[in-house]
Structure formats: C-alpha cells, structure tokens
C-alpha cells in the first residue's frame, strides 16, 4: 500500500536518470563486454556506505554495467590507498571513491585520471586531486538547515550542539548551526560554550548533555550532529524528563533513529543523500567513460573537468510524517 522507501527512491531516481539520459541521447545498448565500475571505501563494513552502493547498483542495473563494492574494513589510510591501487590494477571502467584522507589518496587518484580511468569522489573529497567530480553533503548547509528547524520551533532560551570537534565534517555542521542561530534567531542563545563533545559514542553524548542541562537549565533546542549523538541525547532528555519540552534534531538515520522519531523521543533527523551519491557517482563516471560529455569540443585537450566539480547531494528532514519512507522493507 505505502510505497516503501527503496521503491520510492528507485523509481524517482530511475525516472530522473531516464529523463536525463533521453535528453542527452545516451546510447544505452549493452556492450558485449560488460563494463565494470568499482566503489572503494574505508570502514567497508558499516551500513552508511550500503545506501550509497544501493544507489550505484540501481544505476548499474539501469545502464547494464557491473558495480563492485570493495574497500578496507578498518579506518586505515594506507589500507585504502592499497585497495585503490589494486582496484586500478584491474583496469576498471570507472571508480567511485570515498576518501579517508585527502592528501594520502591524491597521488593514486591522479594516477587513475592520467591513465584514463574516470574517477569521482563521494561523501568525503580530495579537493586538490584531479578527480572529475565530488558528490557529497554540504555540511555547513546541513547545519544551517538544522538551525532553521530548531529556530522555527523554539522561541527564546538556549540551544546546544552535540558533535565531535576534531572531525572536520561535523565541525562544519556545527558552525553552520551556530552561525545561523546567531544570525537569524537572535533571541536564542548558542555558541562554542554550548558544544558537547560526544567522541562518537552514545554514552558520552548522554553524559555530556545531561551535565550541560544542569549548567544551563534554559536549553530548549538540541542539534545532534551524528547518529550516536542523537541516540545518546534522546536518552539524556528522556532520563531528565525533558523529551517533551526540549526540541531535538539529529543527523543521519537508521532504524533506531526512526523508532525514536516515531515514538516522540526525537523530533526529526537530517538524512544525507547517500543513495544519490552512489547513483549519480556511477552515472558521472559512465558518462565520461562512454564519451557522452560534450560541454566543449574536446574537454580533455581543453584541460577542464568533464563534470560538475562539486555536487551537493543535500539533506532532507525526516520527521514523524515521512519517516516510513526511510524504513527498509
């Protein structure tokens, strides 16, 4: 009855791709040798990449090519460089890569490009490298969105941010939130002294927010900038009996976050466009590989990127009115 999330995204994605392909006059006939594209990630076990690869697989099915997922299971910089080198040794038709460390992967990325393998990055970038495009979340813009959500619900009081200050993407979300609250909602007080470091665990998020709620009893809004923070902060608010009086928006989603939203312990969360990253990442690589880019007569000789160099795949607000679309079947 309800169109589920997977089908919804699949259909909308395929429809968009089809419209795009039709307008570009793409040749979709299958080559006799099936082209193979690789997704390379670090921390390859975690579910976060699964949604991106699902997008890539959907694009692969549509294009009639093969999508292969590989990577290093640990948070291991040299490990990801090695896996990328091994992947390039297989002479793939294209690579969709998430970057554990921008500088470390730059030489290998440049090798891929110079040997004619189209490579695009997703989620985390190596901006100084020769990669053709980066598809990822504009983290500052995501923080802005969280601020407008809280600002729209809270009238006065103070707002806290739970984050990991040493992590660049989370720091950008935090900055977007604080800047926007300060600029657009001057009656809400926030700032660096309202930041809680959750060290990527639910336990630290809960303890840290609980302490801050003591120090600052006037907190009316909370932005959790990662999934563990959202789960921990929801518990801290529940344990302090404040679930109903403090508005709370999280980041990322999984079944646990969706449950918290549906039973009223978390107001909303921001979902990243991970499926979009994988889907359009493969589309991008495919278009370059198959010579469909004609922005100028010969982009390679012109020395320009064939693709939009930066694509913000955006975030969307999940709340109890639309959460069912994000549940896997």
């Amino acid at each position: 009855m309800n169109i589920n999330r997977r089908e919804f995204l699949k259909k909308s994605g395929i429809a968009a791709a089809a419209a795009f392909a039709a307008s570009q006059g793409v040749n979709l006939t299958r080559a006799q040798d099936m082209q193979t594209y690789y997704m390379v990630s670090f921390l390859s076990g975690i579910s976060y990449w699964a949604d991106a690869f699902r997008g890539m697989q959907d694009a692969a099915t549509y294009l009639g090519v093969e999508a292969v997922y590989t990577g290093t299971p640990e948070y291991d910089i040299t490990g990801e460089v090695r896996v990328l080198e091994e992947t390039l040794g297989l002479e793939p038709d294209g690579v969709v890569l998430t970057v554990i460390q921008a500088d470390a992967l730059q030489p290998t990325i440049n090798n891929a490009i110079s040997s004619g393998i189209p490579l695009v990055t997703f989620d985390a970038d190596s901006p100084q490298s020769d990669r053709y495009a980066f598809l990822g979340t504009g983290n500052y813009a995501a923080g802005v969105m969280a601020a407008r959500y809280i600002g729209g619900l809270v009238d006065g009081g103070k707002a806290a941010v739970i984050t990991v200050p040493s992590q660049n993407n989370l720091a950008q979300r935090t900055q977007g939130f604080i800047d926007t609250i300060t600029a657009e909602f001057p009656n809400i007080e926030t700032g660096d002294s309202f930041i809680v470091d959750n060290q990527n665990t639910s336990e630290q998020a809960a303890s840290g927010l609980a302490a801050l709620l003591q120090a600052e009893p006037d907190i009316r809004g909370v932005f959790s900038s990662n999934a563990q923070a959202a789960i921990g902060a929801s518990s801290a608010l529940r344990e302090a009996g404040l679930s109903d009086s403090v508005h709370h928006i999280g980041f990322d989603f999984d079944e646990g976050t969706l449950d918290l939203i549906d039973n009223g312990q978390l107001g909303a969360t921001l979902a990243q466009g991970t499926w979009q990253m994988g889907f359009w990442g493969l589309m991008f690589a495919y278009m370059v590989r198959n010579g469909n880019i004609a922005s100028v007569a010969d982009w390679m000789s012109a020395g320009i990127s064939p693709l939009p160099p930066y694509v913000d795949t955006g975030v969307v607000v999940i709340n109890d009115t639309n959460s069912q679309f994000w549940r896997a079947e």
Partner: protein, 340 residues
C-alpha cells in the same frame, strides 16, 4: 636446591605481600575518595548545581555500564594481564541479544544468548593466553577485532532497533526513583568486591598476579584460574553491552569503541597495577566516578569543549601522579621487600 627454596619460601612472602598490598590499596582508595569528595563539594560550592537529583542521576548513569565491566577488568589486571576486547564484546553482546529479540526470542533467552557470546569470547581469550601462551595483549587485541567484526557481520553494519518495550526495564526503569541500571551496576560491584576480598578462590587471583611461578608451585591451577578470569571478563562485558541496549533502545555494532582504555584507566586510577597482583573492584568504581566527575565538572564550570580533553589529560596525570608519589613515600621500605 633453588626449586626447594622457591617452593616453600614464596608462598609465605606472597601471603605477606598480599596482606601488605591490601593495606596499601585501602590507603589508595582513601586518597581517591577524598579527592572525589573534595571535587564534589568544590563543584557544589562553585556552581550550586552539583548535588541535584538530576545531576547525581546523570553522573551515575554515565558510569553504570562501565562499572559492570570493571569487575572483570579488575580480575584480569590483578591476574597480571588485561582485556582489550571488552569494548568489542560489549557491542557484540548487545547486538546478539537485540538480534535474538528481533527474531521473537523471549527476553531471558535473548539475554542468555548475548551472555553466551561473551562467555565464548572470554573463554577463547583464556585458552589462547594459557594453553597456546599468546600474551594477553595480542590475544585480546585479536579478540577485539574478531568481536567487532562479528558484531558488524551479524548486523551488516546497521543498528538493531524495534525491540520489545519490556526489555527496556533494565536500562530505563526505576526503583524508588533510582534507575535500575544504577542499582544493577552497584550490586555487581559490591558482590565483585566482596568476592575479591573474602572468597578464597578469588583471593588466589592476587597470588597469581603477584608471583605466577610461586602460585603455580604452591598448587594453584594457574591456567584454570586465568581461563575463569577472562571468561568472567567476557561475560560482564557482554552484560554491560546488553544493559546499554536496554538504556539506549538500540544495539549499535560500533558501541563501546575505546571503552577498554577508559575502563583500564579507571582501574589504574583506582589502584590496580599493570604489573598485576594489586587492585580492588571498588577502587575501579571510584576511578570511574573520578573520571565522570571531572567530565561533569568541566561542563558545569563551562570549560570550552576544545580545552576539555587537554584538561582531562592533565587532571588524570596529576591525580595518578600525586597518588603514586604519596604511596611511594608512605611505603618505601615495604616496597623494597616486596620487589626484592
């Protein structure tokens, strides 16, 4: 000749050592408790918001799941080893119980399944350390990877939610306005502490950690005891993970990352020695409370978040340094005897 000597003499001296160390540990706990009380009073005087029921609850909840692991870790440390796999087994125990609950398993059985996984992980650690004689660092580091990997494999990397409401009573329910989680943790600490002070079997762990060869020669089955120690450590790590799921409503295969170092640090602050033979369960709890208070205090005192980790490191080194120096000063002649 030497065999004859060691077989008789060390038994007596190790007895004495344990007796003396027991006294020292009590002194050590006293300084730690004094520091905790001083910090608590200082925070109350300065902020006026320390001794509120909510804040006490928040601090207690903060150390509760860690406290469940402290008993097992104290055993491992006292026996002369340590267990780096507790953070991963914590996650694995949680996801196994949650996955079992999701498939409709009754709550007691699902909890047993999680505990059984902890038992297997700990037992395997024990066998590898004693029978294959791989050192505890490598063994438990390997198990840390295996348990984390298994947690990721069981869940395919995603969190497990949608658990039955009745399961949340352990982590979220209250008895006389105190969270059940806190009560469970304190009961485990209390029983563990009494066992390690009074029970003959658990006292043997101190003998083994103090002088393994002497303990072996005096007839203690060192291997069997160590296997039991690591098995218990695995079971309690899994139990802590299960309780954490009950509190947060979600099983996260990434939960407990870095927990092993936090627990070991708390136990060391509480008087355990990395050389083995010394430490108490209640000391580990005080170590956890001390660290929790520093964290809580930094927020209450509005120390900027960018300075908190730095301040935490300095305070910890100061506390342990002060404690170690005062111990050495108090026990200089005795220490000579024990190491000689």
């Amino acid at each position: 000749m030497t065999v004859e000597n060691t077989s008789i003499k060390p038994k007596n001296t190790s007895n004495q050592i344990v007796g003396l160390l027991g006294q020292l540990v009590r002194v050590r706990e006293f300084t730690l408790v004094a520091m905790i009380i001083a910090i608590a009073i200082g925070l109350e005087l300065y902020t006026g918001r320390f001794f509120t029921p909510l804040n006490i609850n928040a601090i207690s909840l903060g150390f509760s799941t860690s406290a469940v692991i402290v008993f097992g870790m104290t055993l491992a440390l006292v026996s002369g080893g340590f267990d780096l796999s507790v953070g991963s087994v914590f996650a694995l125990g949680g996801v196994v119980t949650a996955t079992a609950l999701r498939s409709g398993t009754p709550i007691p059985l699902a909890i047993l399944a999680g505990l059984a996984v902890g038992l297997v992980a700990g037992f395997t650690n024990g066998i590898l350390i004693t029978k294959v004689q791989i050192n505890p660092f490598i063994t438990t580091l390997g198990m840390m990877g295996i348990a984390r990997g298994a947690a990721l494999a069981v869940t395919k990397g995603t969190t497990v939610a949608g658990l039955p409401q009745e399961f949340f009573v352990y982590g979220q329910g209250k008895l006389f306005d105190i969270f059940n989680l806190i009560i469970i943790a304190l009961i485990i600490i209390l029983i563990g502490d009494i066992l390690m002070r009074r029970s003959a079997i658990f006292r043997q762990v101190y003998y083994v950690g103090g002088n393994e060869e002497a303990a072996r020669l005096s007839g203690i089955n060192v291997d069997r005891m160590k296997i039991a120690v690591y098995t218990l450590s695995g079971i309690f790590a899994a139990l802590a993970g299960i309780l954490s799921v009950s509190r947060f409503t979600v099983a996260d295969p990434g939960a407990g990352t870095g927990e092993e170092l936090r627990i070991i640090a708390a136990c060391i602050i509480g008087g355990c020695s990395l050389q083995g033979g010394r430490g108490t369960v209640i000391g580990g709890l005080f170590g956890l409370i001390f660290v929790g208070l520093i964290n809580n205090g930094m927020v209450l005192l509005r120390v900027p978040v960018y300075w908190q980790q730095l301040s935490m490191g300095i305070v910890l080194l100061l506390a342990v340094g002060f404690d170690t120096l005062s111990q050495r000063w108090q026990s200089r002649p005795r220490n000579r005897q024990s190491t000689g």
